[in-house]
Symmetry: C2
């Protein structure tokens, strides 16, 4: 069993992994420096453990000790900081709805070419909203997409809110962050992938036309909220594809677009 | 031109429509009592005006007076409260990103049977998150759904955040709030609609099987986040329909599900 440590002071340095969870910029620096991410809620904590991530510590209200006992037992070296919900709120800066947090070690990102073995890949380019990133991963996992690539400026899939909205699917679907963009499209092409950028352009084919092509390997590219994919990305993609819109509406939310495109191109 | 009124005090009673925009419960009471809703940002303000909603007033930083001049001119009786961005923040309780707000009169909800003339209807049952409501409306409008019905407990499509996420499509697609549920399914049936509840049950057909039926009129029902549609709703629906999931994922986000189902059932 992990050592239970009762903590009474919000300023206790041992709780350093959990401070100010809503301060996105501060968290980005802190999580990068220490190579950690935060899982919130018993289900997400369990999914991270099941996926083989290694906990640095847990921060739990007493009522969670029993129901998470099997997870805690599996990691006897990770301390369990037992706190009141009030103290958790002081440390994290918000009301921790489910009273259960864990800090996990990040793992090295997989090499890109190890992710190019499947039939369908999703590429999320510069999606800046963690909710959209999480919902996009959830849709990719639910629709059987084999891997996700995110571009250098895309929001962090392991940010607490992304994980939560993804329902933990960020632990399940293989993914990596590209170190350059859009150059890796050449490598994808070498591996037989046809790249299709979702965008409304003059030469866009419809999603129906895309599925009719029955390309064996497909990389679907989804662009940033608001302005969509940049021209130099569209130029490098093999195809641009549109989901036909009614009523003068110009686009779907990016996670909804992804769900529709993943559904339409299912094997 | 509307009268320009420079306001210097956050406590000024004339700004009463705009107070504490992030306090959901307070806003619900206030907006219901006064029959108003708040539009945020110049695009949304313009779309509400174009859709025929009548403004009660505007709250603008000076830089918006020119670009919104045509809207303001159209409504000479609606006062324009001109404030600094700081004062706007004090009144509303948050940083108003685009520095432009308007308060509009709500319109009477259309009668249910006037909405039953099209081919496809979406029913959002007890969706509690304003982001999901907004994204659901956006998907419905983008995919050419003819009308939206929301159940008595569903979150407000005219709450500021719903409007914003919907990209103003809540002004465009006809909708009403049902006063009871699920009894109105009988009226839909009388009008020739087949009702299909999106849910994973033992007797769910797949979305492919649904589209193969080619029902002439279809009412698609989407349930609350987390627990999904209640058993007594599933019992009353003609069909339950599932979107096949991979990798043990149990569902999509409700707005993504709606986008997929609307896309798959497009005429």
């Amino acid at each position: 069993m992990s050592p239970l440590v009762s903590v009474k002071e919000a300023g206790d340095a041992r709780l350093g992994d959990y401070v100010q969870l809503r301060e996105v910029n501060l968290r980005r620096m802190l999580e990068e420096e220490h190579g950690l991410f935060i899982a919130e809620g018993d289900k997400v904590i369990r999914r991270a453990a099941d996926a083989g991530y290694e906990p640095r510590s847990f921060l739990l209200a007493p009522r969670w000790l029993d129901s998470l006992a099997d997870v805690l037992e599996k990691w006897p070296e990770a301390p369990v900081y037992v706190v009141t919900e009030e103290l958790a709120e002081q440390v994290t800066g918000f009301h921790v709805h489910r009273g259960a947090l864990a800090s996990y070690r990040r793992q090295p990102a997989p090499e890109l070419d190890t992710l190019l073995t499947g039939r369908r890949i999703a590429i999320f380019d510069d999606i800046v909203d963690h909710t959209n990133v999480g919902a996009g991963f959830r849709a990719a996992a639910a629709m059987g997409v084999d891997a996700v690539l995110i571009t250098p400026t895309c929001a962090d899939p392991l940010y607490r809110r992304s994980i939560k909205v993804s329902m933990g699917t960020v632990f399940q679907i293989p993914w990596t962050r590209l170190t350059s963009w859009p150059d890796p499209l050449d490598l994808l092409k070498d591996h037989g992938f046809v790249s299709a950028a979702l965008a409304l352009t003059d030469d866009s084919i419809t999603l129906d036309e895309l599925t009719a092509r029955q390309d064996e390997k497909l990389a679907l590219i989804f662009g940033t909220e608001g302005h969509g994919l940049k021209p130099h990305v569209l130029e490098r993609a093999d195809l641009t594809v549109k989901i036909p819109m009614a009523g003068g509406v110009d686009s779907l939310n990016v996670a909804s677009s992804a769900a529709v495109a993943f559904y339409a191109t299912r094997p």
